[in-house]
Structures are given as C-alpha cells and as structure tokens.
C-alpha cells in the first residue's frame, strides 16, 4: 500500500454531542485505501453515530472530518456518489422486485438506464441472486436480502463500502456467506469499514480493529496485536457445582489473573498447566482451556457489565 496516497477517511478529534451527552468523544483515526477496518464495541458505544457522521447523515459537533478528500458534512452529498452504504436494518423497497430495487437505487445516483442495466447482472452474480432477479423482496430469505442490500450499495462502483452490523441477527451459515462476499470485495480492492459487536466477525474479516466504548477509542490495531498486547496468552474457564470446593483446595500462586462472570471463573496467564492438572479427579466441574482471543480482550477492555439496547 502506498503511503503517499491520501487517506480514504481522516477524522481528527471527531465529536458528537446529543444534549450534554458526548456520544462520540474526540476520536481520531485515518483509514487508508484497501483497508478492511472493523469498529468493534458494545451497544451504545457510538459506532453507528460515527458512521452517520462519516457519510454526512448527521453533522459532527466538533473536530475535522474528510472522506475521499472532501470535507464532511459540507461536501457530503457529492461524496456519497463515490461510496456505498449498507444500513443496519434492510431498507429495500418491498413493492419492488430484486431488479427494480437495483434500478431505482441506481437512479438515485444519477446513473443512466444503460449504465444500470449493464451493472445489474454483475451485481446479481456477485450476490448469487441471478435466479431471483424477478422475485419480490418478501420472497427472499434474510440472507438474500442482506446480500441484495450489499449489492445495491455497489451499484455506483464505490471506492469505500460502509456496513453497519451487516450480520446481526443472521444464522451462522448465512453469516459465513456474507463474510465470504465481503472478503471477495476486499480482494477486488475495495476499502471497507464495518461495525460489529461480534468478536469473531471482526477477527475473521478485519485487518484492523478500532475498539470503541463510551464514544472513545480504546484500542486501534490488528486483531493479532490486540490479543498479544492486551491479554495473557491462555485462558481457563471453570464452572460447575464443585467449583467453590475446588477453588478452596487450590489457592492460586504465580502470575495468574482471575475473574468471575456469572457462575464461571476465568483464569488468565502465560502458564496455566498446573491449574489445569489440578482439575483432574474433580467431579461436577466443567472447564475449557484455550488460547486467549479477541472476546477476552473485548471483555477486559469494555468491562463485564451487561448492556442492553
């Protein structure tokens, strides 16, 4: 990647306030051409608000923002001609067929009939909807609708694709399917930004993760280095009815961090072998011993309290 080309997105001390609440609180980041960047954070972290500022659908309360070299929100409308947006909830037109949805959306971009008709077969193929061209939206499955939403966002051959929680609420197989599509798009040279609260999604797709909470950036690095820098390499999870007796019989020694979440105890450390051995012979214990992953980092950095809505 050439470092001389200007960044696709440049945000400097970007801020959004609703009343006295700072929903996005002075965040700064650049996104370079070709990156696949994930914004990861719990509900209410400020991910959607950040994306809405990026595309000019809400003005920032402070800071500087440029996307594709254009100042936002001043030039947002013109800038949107060069990006694609996939909203969190599908807003396809239920009255229309698959093809009509693409055609009508293409007209919003000022594309002519010929350009649109040329583009549609490519998009149907990409989204594996070739055989659904004449179907109405309510005849499509959830995964097909999502793929159509992504295809629709590509009608204008964008340089940047922005997706807000693209797989929330979808079945595991369908999520795999969407991930495959997104990876393919990145290989074709597209720059992608997605938000998610799924760790596995961010870990699988993104070369870079911006971890957000309470409107701030907690970490901004590759998934591998996030795990390396912020958490011990191994994790042991233990639960079951005799967990308290086992804990009493084996007091911790050595550099091991221990946390409780609901009825499960988590042990983090570089070397947990002796702790794992001590589980032998205990009935009524269930455990898993594994390498630390992004989920552990996420829980460590954003805290363990339950958040709804």
């Amino acid at each position: 990647m050439s470092t001389s080309s200007p960044p696709i997105v440049s945000a400097v001390r970007l801020r959004k306030c609703y009343g006295s609440q700072r929903v996005v609180d002075d965040i700064s980041f650049n996104i370079e051409r070709g990156e696949f960047c994930g914004m990861l954070g719990p509900n209410g972290a400020g991910k959607t608000t950040t994306l809405r500022m990026l595309v000019g659908n809400t003005p920032n309360s402070g800071g500087e923002l440029t996307v594709l070299g254009r100042p936002i929100p001043a030039d947002a409308r013109a800038m949107r001609a060069r990006i694609g947006i996939v909203p969190q909830a599908d807003n396809l037109d239920p009255d229309f067929t698959v093809v009509e949805n693409l055609r009508v959306y293409g007209r919003y971009f000022g594309l002519g009939r010929r350009a649109i008709d040329q583009r549609i077969p490519e998009l149907l193929k990409l989204a594996a909807l070739d055989d659904r061209a004449g179907f109405r939206i309510n005849q499509l499955s959830g995964g097909m609708k999502r793929r159509l939403s992504i295809a629709r966002a590509l009608i204008n051959r964008p340089e940047l694709l922005i997706l807000d929680e693209p797989t929330t609420g979808l079945d595991p197989q369908i999520r795999q399917n969407i991930w495959h599509l997104l990876r393919q798009l990145q290989q074709d040279g597209l720059t992608l930004i997605l938000t998610t609260h799924y760790m596995d999604e961010a870990e699988r797709l993104c070369g870079r993760i911006i971890l957000m909470d309470h409107g701030r950036i907690l970490a901004d690095q590759t998934p591998q280095s996030l795990v390396r820098d912020h958490i011990e390499p191994h994790v042991l999870e233990v639960h079951g009815e005799s967990v308290n007796a086992w804990r009493a019989a084996h007091p911790l020694n050595g550099p091991i961090r221990c946390e409780q979440l609901a009825d499960t105890w988590y042990y983090y450390g570089a070397n947990l072998e002796h702790l794992v051995k001590s589980l032998d012979g205990w009935n009524g214990l269930r455990y898993s011993y594994r390498a630390a992953n992004l989920e552990d980092v996420f829980l460590k950095l954003t805290g363990r309290e339950l958040r709804d809505g």
């Binding site: 659908n57 037109d93 007209r107």
Partner: protein
Amino acid sequence: MADRFRRWLAVWRRNALVWRKSAKTALLGGFAEPVFYLMALGYGLGSFIGQVQGLSYIGFLTAGILSTSAMNSATFEGLYLAYTRMEVLKTWDAMLAAPLSVADVVIGEVLWMGTKSVISAGLILAVAWGFGLAQGWLALAVLPVVFLTGICFGSMALVFMSFARSYDFFVYYISLGVTPLVLLSGVFFPLEALPEPVRFVTAWLPLQPVVQVIRPLVGNAWDWHMLQLLAIPAGYAAASLLIAIRRFERRLVQ
C-alpha cells in the same frame, strides 16, 4: 439546475413505479369515490336544488369535487404514505445514503403529490367531460391548477407529518383541518350562504381560491383575475415547502 431536476425525478420515479404497480386499487380510492359523490349528490340533491349561480347543481358541484379530490389525494400522500416511506419502509434513509439531500427528497415527494392530484382530478374531469359537465379547451387548464393544488396541500401535509410520531396524529389534521376547510370553501354550496367573517377567513386559505378558479375553467371561461386567486395556493405551497425541508432536515439529519 438540470442536475437538481434529475435528482428530484429519481425520487418521483420511485413513487410513480410503486403507484403503477397498484394503480387499480389506488384509482378506486382516488377516483371512484369522488365520482360517486359527484353523481349521487349532483343528481340526487341537485333535483331538489335547481340552479346555483346560474349552473345546474351538478355543474356547480363538479368544480368542488375536482378541487377536493386534488387536495385529498395530495394530503393522503403527504400524511399516510409519506410517513410510511419515512418511518416504516425507511425509503428516505435509502435515498439519503445516495447522493440526494433532504431537500431533493422532499421536493421529489411534493412533485409526486402534485402528480397524484393531476391523476385523480384528471380522471374525474374526463368523466365530467363525458357527462357534459365540463366543456371547451379551457377545461384542460384545470390540470395545471390541480397540479399546483397538489403541490400546495402535499407540502402542507408534509409540514404536519414532520411532527408525527404515529398514524393516529393525522386524524387531527383531517378532522380539524381538512374537513372544515372543505365545508367552508364553496365546494357544496355557494360562499354567499356563509357569514361574512367566515368567508373572509376562508378566502385566505388555499382551497377556496382553487374552487373559484376551477369553476369557470370547467365551463370554458377565462378571467385574468384567476391568476391573482392562484397566488394564494402558490404562496402556501412555497412557504410550506421551505418549512417542510427545514423540519425534515432537523428530524432526519440530527
């Protein structure tokens, strides 16, 4: 300007395509009902009334029905259908993800509302023509007038809709706004039957001038004074459109 118009047209064409797909049912509401009213009241009631302002009662009523039908179809579109697009289908969000501004969306919508008025009033005009209730080339000038009427009442409905949190809210607009307006604007009976203060007020509201313009046009009569009357709906249209754009910019892009 051409670029702007193209963006409005993209919004307009989206609505036109939806309408085309359900045109048969849509026509029934926008066309059959007013024609039934025209025929039943016009011939039924008319047989008791005789002449009104030198016209048969049904001839008198034709202009009123044309005007209210133009008003109603734009109002319905601006309240219920536009609210559905904005809040339920999120069609406007999809448009705002494309290179369209809130003003583009609102203007495209309002142009469509004007078109809806032309469609429903135009069909009634055709029926009226068939029954000899409208005549002469000037009757065709009703079409641009109902277009303006649709723009006016569509924009006004959008301003009201911009405050809505549910469909229930629209009952206030219909019951307290539209219905009294129809009853007091010279649609069913001549204005002379109303007390002077009421006439003074409704003269400054947009429906009455429309009725006053359409009535002579249907009978193939022209008067330059009509343009002066049309300044009122035009003024309401311009003001409401600007307010609607402001309101939705606040509501959608916040």
